[in-house]
Amino acid sequence: MGKRKRGHPDVEEILSRPWCYYCERDFEDLKLLISHQKAKHFKCDRCGRRLNTAGGLSVHLNQVHKETLSQVENALPNRQGLEVEIFGMEGIPQEILEQHRNRIIQNFYQAQEDRRIATGNPPPGQSKNPRKKIKIETAEELLKRFAEYRAQRKAAAANGGVMEGVVQTGTSFPQQGFNQPGFPGQQPQTPYNFSSDSLPARPSANPVGAQGLPQRPTQPGFWNSSAQGAAAASGDEIDQLIRMAEAGVKPQRKPEDGEEAGEGKSKKEKKGRMIYDDAEFSPEEKMAALPRYAYTPPVGA
């Protein structure tokens, strides 16, 4: 046990281990498996002789002890039959082999996933979990971008609402629709527009816009506030996402752990169904109460 390799073997290694058809135990090598089978499943309970196969044991019991073998000892309930001739790994029916393989694979990935969740470490061979990294970066970047963006907004607002309004009307609607992915592209654009438009184009553009669209005066304000509000809101959302990513995931996992622990507990204290469960009266007392067994003391006895 202490010699066991540190770390966890990969799935191929586990799949290549020989295992016992009768009890599903796996072994280091075939020799061990065979000696296990001889000791646990093919041992004569009369004289202790270890046979090589269940058939061998059956013949032995029959000839030496005049008994018939009805099932393989210490076997799983559905593997006690004598029909299959097993020796080591030989003779295991194909579908059982496949079942075992699937079970091992499933268990392996389950165990790997459990370990990953429990330790927070990536599985071996994938030292860096790209998904996780990207997630964090995006969130940070987003925050940074939001901060930059807000600063720019503020600066722009300080520069003059009128000019800004024009610029915004031109770009704002797609921007709103764009959401986060839109920002990276948008940001360089805004300063550029701003600087280029602010000097020559703006004075002309603004009156036109104001005339053409009567609702314009309110819109910049509306947009401004709502944009900031939206930015703030989506910022909050992202903050929340980040917070979730940092802390929120754990609480999410905890109930899972709890559930697992709960399941484990319930498995441990498996609710047994008792064949007989009267705490006061023994089966004999119940039987005694049946008319079949009733005894009436003879009068005067």
């Binding site: 009805s70 609710k271 047994g272 008792m274 064949i275 705490a279 004999e284 005694a288 067994y293």
Partner: protein
């Protein structure tokens, strides 16, 4: 050379088996008490081929227990007719020794002091002084209904409902006979280690302790000695369970019978699942589990020389059952044990 096989006694009892007892001297003579009002006397010397039944002793009512007395020709029976009987196996003569006010569940004979203890569902023990046949039995009130009784050379263990276990010192019973009192204090009163109704008790032949079993697939092993070390040694374990076919938990069977092997200090347990297992009480290990019997195991007994294990098999009584008939489904199996079959392997 090879030990004979396991075989079924023929003819089998006509209804459920309540108890099996081997003779104290001959290793091949045994009595089986049955719900069909009879006690069956078998002899194993002729082996599996011949009929083993020597004779039967008819009682007035179902017989709930049987035990041997001072020699191979004396036995005691307890039954539904509230009576404790002495049975002369040679003449078949049945003598009533005492009467309870309810069916008598168990009789235990203490060879070293010539005392017969009977336990009845009227929550009393009757103590019979067999050394003085003219004496009247003393009745002792119990704090609960006795379910199982077992004797060791110096103790009588009475397991009752309400998880009460009283351990009586046989010497105190002898003193009681001398003083003629009617008060008998238990040497020890214990609470059962098992949470459910006690089903069977058996004492270690070396007088060190006892094992109890419950209706909830569990066996506990305890020691008499009332020291912290001895009490710390006691343990209990689950057995006689089967995984439910739907995969949801276990089906838990009652452990109906316990019997210690006279020489090896190992014991056998028999359960409602139809299996008999051999356990090493000291090493806390299972030595063996025999192939399933066709029905619930109701009674077990090792022969005095430890050569045979008798297994009484009949349908089990389950919760919710409102009829019972063991006729035709009852049998007594005899297993001839190999030399080391019931021997402990030693602690690992």
């Amino acid at each position: 050379m090879a030990p004979a096989t396991q075989y079924e006694l023929s003819p089998p009892p006509g209804d459920a088996v309540s108890a099996i007892a081997f003779a104290p001297i001959s290793g091949s003579k045994l009595l089986v008490s049955s719900w069909d009002n009879k006690v069956y006397h078998y002899d194993l010397t002729n082996g599996p081929e011949a009929s083993s039944l020597v004779t039967t002793y008819e009682h007035r009512a179902p017989v709930l227990d049987v035990c041997f007395g001072a020699d191979d020709n004396e036995a005691f029976t307890a039954g539904m007719d509230w009576t404790v009987n002495r049975l002369n196996l040679e003449t078949g003569e049945l003598t009533a020794l005492s009467k309870h006010t309810a069916p008598v569940r168990r009789v235990v004979y203490s060879k070293s002091y010539g005392i017969l203890v009977s336990a009845s569902w009227d929550s009393t023990l009757n103590l019979h002084n067999l050394n003085d046949p003219s004496s009247t039995p003393i009745t002792i009130a119990l704090p609960g209904k006795p379910q199982a009784v077992a004797g060791s050379p110096s103790k009588i263990v009475v397991a009752m409902t309400g998880r009460i276990i009283n351990i009586y010192d046989v010497k105190a019973i002898v003193e009681l006979f001398q003083t003629g009192g009617t008060e008998l204090k238990p040497w020890q009163q214990r609470e059962s280690s098992l949470r459910y109704l006690t089903r069977a008790v058996s004492c270690m032949p070396n007088d060190a302790g006892y094992a109890t079993s419950s209706i909830e697939g569990r066996v506990a092993v305890e020691w008499f000695e009332d020291t912290a070390e001895s009490q710390a040694r006691k343990y209990a374990f689950k057995c006689h369970r089967q995984a439910a076919p739907d995969g949801d938990g276990d089906i838990v069977y009652p452990v109906n019978a316990l019997a210690f092997h006279s020489a090896h200090g190992t014991f056998a347990s028999g359960g409602g699942d139809g299996t008999v297992a051999l356990w090493d009480a000291e090493a806390k290990r299972r030595l063996k589990q025999y192939q399933k019997f066709p029905n619930n195991v109701a009674a077990l007994a090792f022969s005095n020389d430890g050569k045979y294990l008798a297994v009484g098999v009949c349908p089990g009584f389950e919760t919710g059952q409102n009829d019972y008939n063991g006729a035709g489904q009852t049998s007594v199996f005899i297993r001839e044990l190999g030399d080391n079959e019931a021997k402990g392997k030693g602690a690992k």
